[in-house]
């Protein structure tokens, strides 16, 4: 469950974000805050996983507010101001959404948050971390939560990408390069113009083919070097 609050002085902005979150499983709105003071008061008593933060608000501006938090949760900035993105990333925000933003763009931001959850200090223990990592994939009108561990490989199919998991095949309307962006780099490897695989699911490599469970994935000429790296 991802507990979130919305901090924005315009109420319609709240409706949009809440509407988007309601389309996803596991998102739980804790409070609507109409300025940063309200948010501070709430966060003094409660903890949340995620804040949707507008920048231009009464009294305390978004970034000033963020600086006052000693251990800030994940933050997705939502604003009409293009010019503060850089400052935002310096403050370690997860994503920066320019109003108005589409659901697809919003989903990307959410995936950046859940893809890196939880924020324990022991990021060295990758394996443990991965056990809880998951992303939302949009298939038709549905949003499916997929554990990153379960993904075997992805295959490009025109404008779509097929994501093959242990139990399922999900077709999403996204380019394979976009998908790879939200997946952890160290675990996935592009082996062909149209194929990217989860390294740990490889069973064997033979010539220009990779065997993953009952699937066979080709290795592209250009990507052969990538695969050879693994065998060193």
């Amino acid at each position: 469950m991802i507990k979130y609050i919305i901090v924005d002085d315009e109420y319609i902005a709240h409706d949009i974000i809440k509407g988007y979150c309601d389309l996803l499983p596991n998102m739980e709105l804790q409070k609507n805050c109409y300025d940063a003071i309200e948010a501070l008061e709430y966060l003094n008593q409660h903890t949340v996983d995620l804040i949707f933060l507008d920048l231009n608000m009464p009294k305390l501006k978004g970034f000033e507010f963020l600086k006052t938090l000693s251990s800030p949760p994940k933050v997705i900035v939502t604003t009409a101001y293009k010019e503060f993105a850089l400052e935002g990333y310096e403050l370690n925000i997860s994503d920066y959404l320019l109003k108005p933003f589409s659901f697809e763009r919003f989903l990307k931001a959410i995936n950046k948050v859940v893809g890196t959850k939880p924020t324990t200090k022991s990021t060295l223990v990758n394996e443990v971390d991965n056990a809880v990592k998951s992303i939302f994939l949009r298939s038709n009108k549905k949003y499916v939560q997929v554990s990153i561990n379960d993904i075997l490989y992805a295959e490009a199919a025109g404008n779509y990408t097929k994501v093959i998991t242990i139990s399922d095949t999900i077709t999403i309307r996204e380019k394979i390069s976009d998908l790879l962006e939200v997946l952890p780099k160290e675990n996935f490897l592009q082996v062909h113009k149209s194929f990217a695989i989860a390294v740990k699911h490889i069973q064997s490599i033979e010539g220009n083919r990779i065997f993953i469970q009952e699937h066979i994935v080709p290795i592209g000429k250009m990507y052969k070097a990538n695969v050879n790296e693994l065998l060193k």
Binding site: D9, Y11, A13, D15, N56, A80, L98, P100
Partner: protein, 235 residues
């Protein structure tokens, strides 16, 4: 003593005299032409500067409005339609009419009203806004988009920074000889002061160019109240 002027000498004097006159005439003409040219250039420069200074609607305001629209479409499409009309009126005015040298005072008033209405629907907090207009001179024409700068400031430094009890009081009176426009708003006095922005600087320069010696701008701050007043003489 007989004073004789030698014919030759006389001719020479006459000739040099004529030459001097000729040079003076040519010289004066040349100077007048140069001065005209300089003047024209000056005017041209002032015009381009004015064009440059003419404010477009604040882009953040537009994007926030678009976001509100985006959200409203699903919830209340009728209201969203109304918003689109207002927003396009404002854009049209600021993009096209805003380039004219003069606009009718009614158009200006309409623009200010739209701006106020759109702002009122943005926030959940209550804002008290009054706009009193008294037009006695219907044919009055003014330079476009001057007043909006003062109104924008009232929202930017007042309404947007207050958590509650924000008010903006606007008065406009249009008479035969002058236009008076004043905005009064409260602001958060505990917040650190911001430097006078580019908006006011531009407004001052534009007034100098469009209404030299014919305008009066006063900006007045008292505890948590800010009052700005602009008077333009039409004669």
């Amino acid at each position: 003593m007989v004073f004789v002027i030698d014919d030759l000498e006389f001719e020479a004097t006459l000739f040099s005299f004529a030459t001097i006159i000729l040079i003076v005439i040519i010289g004066t003409r040349w100077i007048i032409r140069e001065m005209k040219l300089v003047n024209e250039l000056k005017n041209e420069k002032a015009k381009t500067e004015l064009q440059h200074l003419k404010s477009q609607v604040n882009p953040h305001f537009f994007f926030n409005m678009l976001n509100n629209l985006y959200g409203l479409i699903e919830v209340d499409s009728k209201k969203a339609q109304g918003l689109v009309l207002k927003l396009s009126d404002m854009m049209r005015y600021s993009i096209y009419d805003g380039q004219n040298e003069f606009v009718s005072i009614q158009e200006e008033v309409e623009y200010l009203k739209n701006y106020i209405e759109l702002h009122q629907m943005r926030y959940r907090k209550k804002i008290q806004i009054t706009f009193d207009v008294n037009v006695q001179n219907e044919t009055c024409k003014v330079t476009p988009l001057l007043f909006i700068i003062l109104l924008e400031n009232a929202f930017k430094h007042g309404v947007e920074n207050l958590r509650e009890n924000a008010f903006v009081k606007i008065d406009m009176s249009v008479k035969k000889r002058e236009v008076r426009f004043s905005v009064e708003n409260n602001f958060d006095a505990t917040q650190e002061e911001t430097k006078p922005g580019i908006g006011l600087k531009n407004l001052k320069r534009r007034l100098e160019l469009s209404y030299p010696e014919k305008h009066y701008l006063s900006l007045f701050k008292n505890e948590d109240i800010y009052v700005s007043e602009l008077i333009i003489s039409l004669v």
